[in-house]
């Protein structure tokens, strides 16, 4: 009889004819006639019950008919996000409740009129369902983020510095073509990198707002953009500048996308490969000017190579948890001692490399002297990082590296060995250029 009561109330709580049909089929299993069931239900329409009573009875009903176990989950039950080994439909029910209240979201996002923060807008936007339609007005911003515009700008700056340091007269056309070609190559490399790393980027805080993660463009679109940048870029470098620079550009793209990106998840050697990738742009700038791989080009490359270690090791020190969870194999996680030693070693190495400047006739003898303060400072911070290994020192080292590099290149430029014999003002006595 109690089961019978449960049946009746259960029917009241759910809408739809299907319920009644189901109940009828169940009732027939319970040996009661269908007609009497319907008559009984129709009689008691006006009665009210409490919700708790209803839920209790519902549970009774559900437990007695095992086939319904999946459906009866009233909203008061606390659900945890713990996965259990039961089948997927139960798990999906568990996941449903903590999710958003379903919104019939239209194409337009709710505008926040008085909200100046773009971050808050992005956060709100991230919680909604969005149509995967490309908004053409958003494309420049999307492409800028896809190509990691700030990083690209830094890369082009180092290439331009490489060109400027080369001992040839300044040719604006070649300079512009080399810069633009490097710009396009860097855009390509960054886009392909993001294309490969979508699920990893989704899981790291630093990268979870990238365009492909957010679905602002499709993977095919990203690859097409990369090819549309890469092919003209490398062609421009090969035909407009010289084949060596074009080759270096293509090599750099290959190293970054096909070596560095997969290696990030396999071995710590990715940091060394990444440092080579960072070292190539100034070499490209130099070869764009001279057409050959001079020792001066390699010296500039060595500056960038050594600089990468204090820069990246300090950055990765504070991201250890994200890297570990994402499955990235970085020195800071797997070989912390090595990470600190390498950062210190290469910071001190920058002092030595600066001393090589006059030796290779790239700069005057003033360069090691004027660059000594900043080199000593970064070495000091690297030493503190090595010694104390805490977040504070890592952050200091990282931020120092950000201004150290432009400063170093600027100083090198001002101390550049002059090639003009007649010019005797303030510049050291000129020597015949070491041409190869």
């Amino acid at each position: 009889m109690f089961l019978w009561e449960g049946l009746r109330w259960k029917m009241r709580s759910l809408l739809g004819v299907g319920v009644q049909l189901k109940l009828i089929s169940n009732a027939s299993r319970s040996h009661m006639s269908a007609r009497s069931l319907i008559q009984l239900c129709r009689k008691n329409q006006a009665e009210w019950i409490t919700f708790q009573h209803l839920c209790f009875l519902k549970r009774q009903y559900v437990m007695s008919s095992s086939g319904l176990c999946q459906r009866a989950i009233p909203k008061q039950e606390s659900v945890t996000a713990v996965l259990d080994d039961r089948d997927d439909s139960v798990v999906s029910q568990v996941q449903k409740i903590p999710a958003l209240k379903p919104e019939p979201a239209t194409k337009a996002l709710p505008s926040d009129p008085a909200e100046p923060e773009a971050a808050r807008a992005a956060r709100l936007e991230a919680r909604q369902w969005k149509e995967l339609k490309v908004e053409y007005s958003d494309l420049p911003g999307i492409y800028a983020r896809l190509a990691k515009l700030k990083l690209t700008a830094l890369v082009v700056t180092t290439a331009a510095a490489g060109y400027a340091m080369a001992p040839v007269p300044f040719d604006p056309v070649i300079f512009l073509m080399a810069s633009f070609g490097t710009f396009l190559s860097s855009c390509t490399a960054n886009s392909i990198n993001q294309y490969f790393e979508v699920p990893f980027d989704s899981n790291m805080n630093r990268t979870k707002n990238r365009p492909l993660v957010r679905g602002q463009i499709s993977p095919l679109h990203a690859v097409s953009f990369a090819m549309a940048c890469g092919i003209p870029g490398v062609t421009l470098l090969t035909l407009g500048v010289n084949p060596l620079t074009g080759f270096l550009g293509a090599l750099n793209i290959f190293l970054y996308t096909c070596c560095y990106t997969p290696l990030k998840r396999l071995s710590i050697t990715n940091t060394w490969v990444g440092s080579v990738v960072g070292a190539i742009p100034p070499v490209m700038g130099w070869t764009a000017a001279t057409g050959s791989l001079d020792p001066g080009a390699l010296l500039l490359g060595a500056f960038l190579f050594s600089w990468q270690f204090p820069h990246f090791n300090a950055l990765s020190w504070n991201l250890r948890e994200d890297y570990s969870r994402g499955g990235y194999r970085m020195m800071s996680v797997t070989h912390p001692g090595l990470c600190k030693r390498v950062a210190l070693r290469h910071s001190v190495g920058l002092i030595g490399l600066s001393a090589l400047g006059p030796v290779l006739d790239v700069t005057t003898w003033t360069f090691p002297l004027v660059s000594l303060p900043i080199n000593l400072y970064i070495s000091y911070l690297a030493f503190r990082f090595y010694r104390y290994s805490d977040r504070q020192n890592a952050r200091k080292l990282f931020f120092c590296s950000l201004w150290h590099l432009p400063m170093l290149l600027l100083l090198a430029l001002t101390c550049k060995k002059s090639r003009v014999p007649q010019d005797e003002a303030a510049v050291a006595p000129s020597t015949p250029s070491v041409a190869l």
Partner: protein
């Protein structure tokens, strides 16, 4: 009528508004929905995510990051007269998405669980309670946590490497297929064939 079909019908009847959209957008095999013993996989996904796009929408929809896997679910639009290639692509994308979701959910869950266990064990060895005097949870220093992070990475290296390989393979396949579909559609537009009539006639890719 068996119980599961009945329960599916109940569910449909209590959901607001979008049942028609659900039917038209979700079932990969049209017309099989009523007789199947389980709701089609896409319907299950729509239930899981709790969202259905408007019936008139012609685009895919992407949702907020999932709480467990941090990946964003996509509900794919099924065009009328979908070609077999498009269907294959959609299924592959759906399957890859589910596979990814499963991997990352497991990864994140395992990581959090093992991290908690590690913190507990470290605190126990030190003889400290889980919460300090202010009632806040005790945390370990970065150096102590670093031991755990290294251990976690080393323990899972083979799993990560095989996931990596599989992900790259799927990503390439999906992108190539998307390119084929786009080329095919462009060719159809250029040669003036409409979707309804030109199906399977002049497939070049």
């Amino acid at each position: 009528m068996n119980v599961k079909t009945g329960s599916y019908l109940i569910f449909r009847s209590v959901r607001p508004c979008y049942t028609r959209a659900l039917l038209s957008l979700r079932s990969p095999c049209r017309g099989h929905r009523q007789s199947s013993s389980q709701p089609p996989k896409h319907a299950k996904r729509a239930e899981r995510t709790g969202f259905s796009p408007a019936a008139s929408s012609k685009y895919d929809w992407i949702g907020p990051p999932d709480r467990l896997s941090n990946l964003r679910p996509i509900i794919y639009h099924i065009p009328e007269n979908e070609t077999p290639l498009e269907r294959k692509l959609r299924h592959l994308r759906q399957e890859t998405e589910d596979w990814n979701h499963e991997f990352w959910t497991k990864q994140n869950f395992t990581f959090t669980k093992e991290k908690e266990e590690y913190v507990q064990s470290q605190l126990t060895t030190k003889g400290l309670s889980e919460r300090d005097d202010d009632g806040r949870k005790r945390t370990l220093s970065s150096e102590e946590m670093a031991v755990f992070y290294k251990h976690f990475l080393d323990k899972n290296i083979t799993r990560h490497a095989s996931y990596n390989r599989e992900w790259y393979r799927r990503n390439f396949t999906i992108t190539l297929m998307m390119a084929r579909v786009t080329l095919h559609n462009t060719w159809r537009i250029l040669t003036g064939q409409t979707r309804g009539t030109g199906r399977e006639k002049g497939r070049t890719t």
